[in-house]
C-alpha cells in the first residue's frame, strides 16, 4: 500500500507543478478577492486559459500527439487535475469536449473532421456540447425521437428537442444523436451528427432548476439543415458512436471532489447545543464515515488506473453514496440552523436545492443499480419488451398504454 507516486509519476508531477507555479498568475480569478464578475469576461478568460493549458500539454493530455495531445495515460491526467486543484487554478472550460466528444471524433470521425474540429476544441476557441438526451427518452438513451431526414441533395434536416445539456449558450458545435430510420429496432436506426449551434432553426433555452438557476438547457431543432459531411461514423450506426462517448464519460466520473464532511462538522461545532447532542453527533458520524469511504474509493480507482485497469461501474456507486450523504448532511444542518438555513443566501440552501436534481443527473440511481447488478454481480437482466421491435411500433404501443 503506497499513496506515493512512482519515480516517473513524481517527475511528471514536478514538471506540471513547476509549470503551474510559473504560470498560475495568468489563470483567471473566479472566486474571492479580485474575481471576475462579468459572464462574458469570465468566458473569454477561461477560453484563453484553456488555450494556455493546451499549449503546455495540460489540456487533452491523453489525446494522441498527432491531434495536439501528449499521449499520456489516465493516471497522468489525474496528476494534472490534482496539481491544478493544488495550485488553485480553474480547470479547462470544455470538459465535455476534451474528455468525451474529442475522443469520440478521434475514434469515429473522418480525417477531414479531425483536421477541422480537434484543434480549435483543444484550445478553447470552439466549445462543444453533447446532444444525446431527450425529454421523452428518460433513462433509455436509445429512445431518441429527434428525426434526421435526408434530402435529395444529400443534406439532412433535423427536427426535435434535446435536453439536460450544458454549455449550449456559448457552444459552437454539438454532437447530436438523431433517428434516421424509425422502422428498425431502436438501437439500429440512429446516426451521429455534428451540428453548428448558430445554424438557423436552433434555439437554446435555459432550463431552470429548483434553485431557480438554469443549470441545464433545452435545445430545439426546427428544420435545421446539416451537410452530408456532418455525419460521424456510419449512417444508422450512431449508437456505436454514442457508446464510445459514454465509455469516455465513465472515465471522467468518480475521481472528482464532492462534498467533504469537515464542512458540515464546522457548522455543527459552531452551535454548542448541537455539538453536545448525541443524536446529531451520531448522524454526523454516520454520513461522514461514508463520505470518507468514497474519498478512499477514489484513491482505489486511481490505483486501478495506475495498474492499467479501467475502474468498473461499481465505482459509480460512489456517486450514490455522495448524493445521499450530502442530502442527509443538508437535512441535518438545516434541522440545526432552522428556517434560516433555507434563506436564499444561506450557506446550504443552494446545496439543498441542487441535490434532488443531481440524484437523477447522469442516469438515475435505479438505472445505475441495474447496471451494477448485471455487470458487476452478474445478475440476469430484466426481461426486455423492446428487443427487436421497430422503433415506430414501440412508440405506438406506448401511446396506447399511456392512454389506457
Amino acid at each position: 500500500m503506497d499513496l506515493n507516486d512512482t519515480p516517473e509519476q513524481a517527475q511528471y508531477r514536478a514538471q506540471i507543478r513547476s509549470w503551474l507555479e510559473e504560470h498560475k498568475s495568468e489563470a483567471p480569478v473566479l472566486g474571492g478577492e479580485g474575481a471576475l464578475t462579468d459572464p462574458d469576461e469570465i468566458l473569454a478568460a477561461r477560453r484563453a486559459w484553456q488555450g494556455r493549458l493546451a499549449e503546455a500539454g495540460l489540456a487533452g493530455a491523453t489525446w494522441p500527439k498527432e491531434f495536439g495531445g501528449q499521449g499520456v495515460g489516465p493516471i497522468e491526467n489525474v496528476i494534472i487535475s490534482q496539481e491544478m486543484r493544488r495550485a488553485g487554478v480553474p480547470g479547462i472550460l470544455d470538459v465535455i469536449g476534451i474528455g468525451m466528444l474529442g475522443p469520440t471524433i478521434i475514434a469515429h470521425g473522418t480525417d477531414a473532421q479531425k483536421t477541422r474540429y480537434l484543434g480549435p476544441m483543444l484550445h478553447g476557441d470552439e466549445v462543444w456540447c453533447q446532444l444525446f438526451s431527450e425529454p421523452a427518452a428518460g433513462s433509455d438513451l436509445a429512445a431518441v425521437q429527434t428525426r434526421a431526414r435526408r434530402g435529395d441533395d444529400g443534406t439532412w434536416t433535423l427536427n426535435g428537442q434535446k435536453v439536460w445539456t450544458t454549455n449550449e449558450q456559448f457552444a459552437s458545435f454539438g454532437l447530436l444523436l438523431a433517428r434516421t430510420n424509425p422502422d428498425v429496432p431502436k438501437h439500429k436506426g440512429m446516426t451521429m451528427f455534428i451540428v453548428t449551434m448558430d445554424a438557423p432553426g436552433v434555439t437554446v433555452r435555459g432550463l431552470r432548476q429548483i434553485s431557480g438557476e438554469a443549470e441545464f438547457n433545452e435545445v430545439f431543432f426546427d428544420d435545421v439543415t446539416v451537410d452530408a459531411d456532418a455525419v460521424v461514423g456510419p449512417v444508422d450506426g450512431g449508437w456505436g458512436v454514442g457508446l464510445t462517448t459514454l465509455m469516455f464519460e465513465r472515465l471522467t466520473i468518480g475521481l472528482g471532489g464532492g462534498y467533504r464532511a469537515a464542512r458540515f462538522a464546522q457548522t455543527i461545532a459552531a452551535d454548542d447545543a448541537a455539538r453536545r447532542d448525541a443524536g446529531v453527533r451520531h448522524e454526523l458520524g454516520e454520513l461522514s464515515a461514508e463520505l470518507e469511504a468514497i474519498r478512499w474509493t477514489g484513491y482505489r480507482s486511481i490505483s486501478a488506473l495506475q495498474s492499467g485497469q479501467i475502474p468498473g461501474p461499481e465505482f459509480g456507486l460512489a456517486k450514490v453514496t455522495m448524493v445521499n450523504c450530502a442530502i442527509r448532511a443538508g437535512d441535518l444542518v438545516a434541522d440545526i440552523i432552522g428556517p434560516d438555513a433555507l434563506a436564499a443566501d444561506g450557506n446550504f440552501s443552494y446545496m439543498i436545492s441542487f441535490l434532488p436534481g443531481l440524484k437523477s443527473a447522469g442516469g438515475t440511481e435505479e438505472i445505475l443499480r441495474n447496471t451494477i447488478g448485471e455487470r458487476v454481480l452478474g445478475l440476469p437482466p430484466e426481461p426486455r419488451l423492446d428487443k427487436g421491435v421497430p422503433f415506430s411500433e414501440l412508440r405506438a404501443k406506448e401511446k396506447e398504454g399511456a392512454a389506457a
Binding site: 438526451s133 425529454p135 427518452a137 428518460g138 433513462s139 433509455d140 429512445a143 435536453v163 439536460w164 432550463l207 431552470r208 432548476q209 429548483i210 431557480g212 441545464f216 452551535d271 454548542d272 447545543a273 448541537a274 447532542d277 446529531v280 442530502i327 438545516a334 434541522d335 440545526i336 440552523i337 432552522g338 428556517p339 434560516d340 438555513a341 433555507l342 434563506a343 440552501s349 439543498i352 436545492s353 434532488p356 436534481g357 440524484k359 437523477s360 443527473a361 438515475t364 440511481e365 435505479e366 443499480r369 430484466e382 426486455r384 419488451l385 423492446d386 421491435v389 414501440l394 404501443k397 406506448e398 398504454g401 399511456a402
Partner: protein
C-alpha cells in the same frame, strides 16, 4: 366503532376543497418565490369558509367544531399547497375562547385576526417552556412575564411564528418567574411589540419574528394544559397539512408512473418505482391513522394529546419528506425543474419540518411521553 367521516365532516371537507379550488394556489406558490405580490392572501377565503371561528364555541359566535374538523381543513389546504391561515389563528382561537377573551365574537367572525406565538411545553431533557430560536439548536425560554392583575408584561423573542405578521391580536405565552406559563392577548400594534415579517424557501408560508419589550397584554384565564394543547394542536395541523401535500404528491407520481415509458414499459411496472410509490402510500396511510388518533385524543382522551399529536406530526412529516423527494425522483430530471410542481412540494416539506419545534422535536416528544409512562392506556374499545 365508526371512524368514517360524518356527513357534516364530509361537507366541511368538500367546502374547503371547493373554496381552495377556485384559487390558483400552486401557481402562487411558484410565482411568489420571485414576486411577493403574486402571493395569495387567503384570509378572505378563510372568513367566507368560517375557519377563524371553527374551534370557538357556538355561543360565542363560532362553529363549535372539534380539532379533527380543523385537521380536515388543514389537509385540504395541504393538498393544494395553500398558505391557509390556520397555524397561527386556530391555536390562538382555542386559547382566546377558553381564556374568556372579550372580543372573541370578532375573532370568530374573522374581523379580528389572531395568531399565537408558539411555546413548547417542558420535557425531561428541556425543563422550561421555550420558544423557537432565530437560528441554532438551543431554544430560548419563552418570553419572561410579570403578571399584575389582568395585565401581563412580556419580554422576549419568538422566531418564525406563523401568520403573526398579519395578526391584529397576538396570543403570547410568557413564563413567570416561577417557571409557570401564562397566556396573554397582546394588541399587535401596541407599544413594545415589534414584528419582523419574513419567509423562507416556501413562498406560501407567512412567518414573523416577534420581539416583545415590556409589551403589555391582557391575561387569558387558561391553564398550562390549555397552552400545551395549543402547541399540540399546531403540531396536528402541520401533520394534516403534510398529509394533504403528500397525498397529492402520491397521486401525481402514480399518474406519471402509469404514463411514462422507458425501455418499452411504463415506469410504474418496475419494482424500484413501484415499491417506492408503495412506500409513499405506507407512510401516508400511517400518517392518516395518526391524524384520526390525534382527533380522538382531542375529543375523548386529553391525556393522550401530547402523544397522539406528536406521533402524527412525526409520521406525517416523514411521509411528506419522503413523498417530496420521491416525487422528484419518479419524475426523473424534469421533476427537478422550476416549472414543475414537485419542487414546490419539496419546498413545503423542507420548511415545514423546521417550524414550530420541528418534526425532530415532535418525534422526541413521542419518546418522552413513552419514557414517562404517559403512552396510551391500553387497547381502546
Amino acid at each position: 366503532m365508526n371512524l368514517e367521516l360524518s356527513d357534516e365532516q364530509e361537507f366541511l371537507r368538500e367546502a374547503a376543497r371547493g373554496a381552495l379550488s377556485r384559487l390558483k394556489t400552486i401557481e402562487a406558490a411558484r410565482e411568489g418565490l420571485e414576486d411577493e405580490s403574486a402571493r395569495l392572501d387567503l384570509w378572505p377565503t378563510a372568513i367566507e369558509a368560517g375557519w377563524p371561528g371553527l374551534l370557538i364555541a357556538e355561543e360565542r359566535g363560532g362553529a363549535g367544531l372539534g380539532a379533527y374538523d380543523a385537521l380536515l381543513v388543514a389537509q385540504e389546504a395541504g393538498r393544494v399547497l395553500a398558505g391557509a391561515p390556520l397555524l397561527g389563528p386556530l391555536p390562538a382561537s382555542l386559547l382566546l375562547d377558553r381564556g374568556g377573551y372579550e372580543r372573541i365574537g370578532e375573532v370568530a367572525a374573522g374581523e379580528l385576526k389572531a395568531a399565537w406565538l408558539p411555546a413548547r411545553p417542558p420535557s425531561e431533557l428541556e425543563e422550561a417552556w421555550t420558544a423557537d430560536p432565530i437560528a441554532g439548536m438551543a431554544r430560548p425560554p419563552a418570553p419572561a412575564a410579570t403578571v399584575d392583575g389582568d395585565t401581563v408584561t412580556l419580554n422576549g423573542t419568538v422566531a418564525w411564528a406563523p401568520d403573526a405578521g398579519e395578526a391584529d391580536v397576538l396570543v403570547a405565552i410568557g413564563r413567570t418567574a416561577g417557571g409557570e406559563p401564562v397566556a396573554a392577548a397582546v394588541d399587535a400594534g401596541s407599544a413594545g411589540v415589534s414584528l419582523e415579517p419574513g419567509w423562507r424557501y416556501d413562498a406560501t408560508r407567512r412567518l414573523a419574528t416577534v420581539t416583545l419589550a415590556d409589551a403589555r397584554g391582557t391575561r387569558l384565564d387558561v391553564s398550562a394544559q390549555d397552552i400545551a394543547q395549543a402547541w399540540y394542536l399546531t403540531q396536528a395541523l402541520i401533520a394534516a397539512e403534510s398529509v394533504g401535500a403528500a397525498e397529492t404528491a402520491l397521486e401525481v407520481s402514480v399518474q406519471y408512473a402509469k404514463e411514462r415509458y422507458t425501455f418499452g414499459r411504463a415506469i410504474g411496472s418496475y419494482q424500484a418505482i413501484k415499491h417506492s410509490l408503495v412506500e409513499m402510500l405506507r407512510r401516508l396511510e400511517n400518517a392518516k391513522s395518526l391524524l384520526i388518533y390525534a382527533g380522538f385524543a382531542f375529543s375523548d382522551h386529553p391525556d393522550e394529546i401530547a402523544y397522539a399529536a406528536s406521533a402524527a406530526r412525526s409520521v406525517a412529516g416523514g411521509a411528506l419528506d419522503y413523498a417530496a423527494r420521491q416525487q422528484i425522483a419518479v419524475h426523473g430530471g424534469i421533476g427537478a425543474t422550476w416549472e414543475h410542481d414537485a419542487p414546490l412540494t419539496f419546498r413545503r416539506a423542507q420548511l415545514s419540518r423546521r417550524l414550530v419545534g420541528g418534526t425532530h422535536d415532535a418525534t422526541d416528544r413521542v419518546g418522552e411521553e413513552l419514557l414517562a409512562g404517559r403512552g396510551p392506556a391500553a387497547e381502546a374499545a
